[in-house]
Amino acid sequence: MKLLKIWRTFKEGLKNFSRHRWLSLATIIILALSLYVVVIPVFLGLAGNSIIKNIQNKMNISVYFNPEVSEEEILEIKNDLKAYREIKSVEYISQNQALDEFLASENNDPIITQALEEIGENPLLSSLAITAYKPNQYEIITQAIESSNFRDKINKINYKENKKYIEDINEIVTLVKKAGLVLGFILLLTAELITFNTIRLNMYSRKKEFEIMRLVGASNLYIQMPSIFEGIFYGIGAAAASMVLLFLTIKVMAPLTQELTLLAGILVASFQLYFQYFWIIFAGITALGVALGIASSFIAIRRYLKI
């Protein structure tokens, strides 16, 4: 198709768009709401993910050694553990370090300091703090340590205490991902159907025009092009509108959720994500909107072209 024809059909599309401005507005609003509804769970899922990732990074298990085990032996074990491919990092915490940390956490409470002096020796154990790559790997790591050749030197592993917590987070991540995926898909389908129907009505009101164009000798593509451009305009308009909606949602919701720490955290993370990835999100929504607009226009108009 020649550039001249593309330019003409573009102008025609723009004219149709502004001429049927109420129909265009209605189409844009519906498309914008559809996009908004699709993006919200994806967005919350992303934000939730980033929080969970944060928590996961801070999570670890501690292996405590019996008091008689020497530092050299523990460091040797540390080197062994480093070879595991599930293990991201191993940190040695000596008895003294453990004591310092404990005292610091108790704000150097004089009663505790006094009690420790009474005992005369450091009651804490040295330990290795192990961080895995994924939360579901702690189970395997614990089993490996429990059946290792240095198991006799181990006093306790605090994995069991953390286990519940880790499992909870694991569950949330999987749930968020699954729910987001299923919900997103259903909503996308609904959005496509609604958009398609709106555009179809729009085209129906103009079916006589298409017939005339055909009889005058216009090729089907030439008749379709303006509508395809209109689809692009719908997509861009709807994407911009849904970005504004998304912004308003986060802005209005944030103060309402102060009490619910997890939700508030998600919203704060959303806010950061929104600005950090503004253009990527905008481009994504625009692409989705334009694709919906084009596909709907293209299919809707075919009915009237006897293709």
């Binding site: 001249l4 024809k5 025009e209 005339i212 055909r214 009889l215 090729s219």
Partner: protein, 226 residues
Amino acid sequence: MIKFEKVSKVFPGDFVALEDINLLVKKGEFVSVVGHSGAGKTTLLKLIYAEEQPTSGKVYFNNKDISTIKKKRLPYFRRNFGMVFQDFKLLPQKTVFENVAYALEVSGKTNQEINDEVPGILDIVGLSNKMEKYPEQLSGGEQQKVSLARALVHRPLVIMADEPTGNLDPTSGWDIIQLLVKINDLGTTVILATHDKEVVNKINKRVVALGRGKIVSDIKKGKYIL
């Protein structure tokens, strides 16, 4: 130029629109196709510009079997014809100028060519002072003249008019017919489908009469005899 060879057209529900039609239209002829409503006039025209395909038999245009034209080429094939309809079929949201220009735009003519050709054609049909008006601001006769201008502007080989006077008062109708005759005098083949007796008798050119899907008479300088 246009040849029908044993053409029949049966619509779903066994409705026979045309039966065993043999017809030859030569270049530069003015042919009036007459008959009552439902006699098959419109179907005959539709077969020529390939809006319908015959159930049996063949239709030739310039010795080419129309049924062999690929769907993709149909728009180009249709540019051989100029069409005028009873209901004008103008684009309501375009001005007179734009309606006529559209026929040139679709074939990729430049703006320069369009600006050269359209005013000339509108002058021929006598509407050069109404170029910026919209169809609804015109009378029926004027709208039909716009439609005729649009049919003419790309210099088609054949003008086909399907009941062009059906919605017009006798005076406006006769204006349109006179324009068709004038166009024919300049060498364009014209096929006029009508049931307007007076019009046909006044033109005094070839008349093909259809009755129940068959050709019942074909007379060189004919009168409407049904």
